[in-house]
Amino acid sequence: MDAKPRLLIVDDELLIRDLLYDYFMTHDFDIAVAENGQRALSLLEKNHYDTVILDLKMPDIDGLELTARIRAKDGDLPIILITGYPSVESAIQAVRWRLDDYFVKPVNLTHLRRAVDTALARRSAVGGAKATLGEPTV
C-alpha cells in the first residue's frame, strides 16, 4: 500500500481537531475531520478511511453509539477512542466493542500515533486476507 493512510478525526472541539490534523499531517497521513457524529457518518458513507479517531463525548451522537453504527457497516474498521471524561463503564464498552485503543485527554501524541500504526497494521492484515478471499490471484 503506497497511498497515504486515510484518517478520520471526529471531535466537537475545534482545538483538538486542529491539533490532531496538524500533527498527523506532518506524519504523512491523509486526513478528514468531522465536528460531530452525523458529519462523521456522512463522510464514512462516501469515503474510505483506514482508521477513525473518535471523541467519546459529543453533543449529537455519543462516541460509543457512533462506534456501534460504524461497526454495523464495517466490522473491522479500526477505531481509537479519546476522552476527557474517562470511566470504567466506557472503557469496558471499549473492550466489548474491540476498539483498538482508548486514550485519556490530554493525549500523548506519540502514543496515539503508535496506536494508529498498530491499528493500520491490523487493518492491513485483515484486508489482505479479505482480498485473498474475494479475488483469487491466479
Binding site: V95, V104, T132
Partner: protein, 180 residues
C-alpha cells in the same frame, strides 16, 4: 458444529470460593472446568491443554491477571480471555483492552451473564477458526492452481480440486487461459 461437544474452560482465581462456584456452575452446564490458583499455574495448565475460553481474576498474588492474559495470548493468539475483578479501574480496563481481553467483568457478577459472555466468546472463536480454515483452504487451492498451470500436467496434487481434464491442454495459452 456439534452442540453436545464438551466445551473446556480454565478458571484462574486465587479465591477458592470463586473457583468452586464457577466449577459447580459450569460443570452443571456440561463444561469441562479446570482451575488454577494463580497466574503461573494458569499459564502452565494452558500450555499443556486446550481450552475454549479462559476466565482470569485481575488481582492475584504474584503474576497479575493482565500478565497472565498476555502470556496466554503469546501461547495462543486470539484465545478468548475474560478478565474478572472486584476492583475495577479505568487503567486496568484500558490495559485489558490493549492486551486483547475478550471482556472485563465486575464482581459480583450474575452467573447467567457470565455464561452468556463465555458462550459468545466460544461461538466467536469457532467462527474465527472456521474463517481461518477457509482462508487456508483457498490459499492451498490457489497454490494448486498455480502449480497446475505452471506444470501443464493437467493434474493437481489436491484431489479436492476438480479441474476439467477433458479440456485439451493445447487449448490453454501460456497464462492458462482457455482459447476458443
Amino acid at each position: 458444529m456439534n452442540q453436545q461437544a464438551l466445551r473446556r474452560i480454565l478458571v484462574v482465581d486465587d479465591e477458592i470460593f470463586i473457583r468452586d462456584l464457577l466449577t459447580d456452575f459450569f460443570s452443571k452446564l456440561n463444561f469441562a472446568v479446570t482451575t488454577a490458583a494463580d497466574g503461573n499455574a494458569g499459564v502452565a495448565t494452558f500450555r499443556k491443554e486446550q481450552f475454549d475460553a479462559v476466565l482470569v481474576d485481575l488481582k492475584m498474588p504474584g503474576q497479575s491477571g493482565l500478565e497472565t492474559l498476555r502470556q496466554i495470548h503469546a501461547l495462543r493468539r486470539g484465545s478468548p480471555v475474560i478478565i474478572m475483578t472486584g476492583y475495577p479501574t479505568i487503567d486496568s480496563s484500558i490495559e485489558a483492552l490493549r492486551a486483547g481481553a475478550y471482556d472485563y467483568i465486575i464482581k459480583p457478577f450474575k452467573l447467567q451473564e457470565l455464561k452468556e459472555v463465555v458462550d459468545r466468546a466460544i461461538k466467536e472463536q469457532e467462527l474465527h477458526v472456521e474463517i481461518d480454515t477457509l482462508r487456508d483452504k483457498i490459499a492451498t487451492i490457489e497454490d494448486e492452481l498455480r502449480h497446475y498451470r505452471a506444470s501443464g500436467t493437467g493434474r493437481t496434487r489436491n484431489p479436492e480440486i476438480i479441474l476439467n481434464d477433458a479440456e485439451p491442454l493445447s487449448a490453454l495459452d501460456s497464462h492458462g487461459t482457455a482459447q476458443s
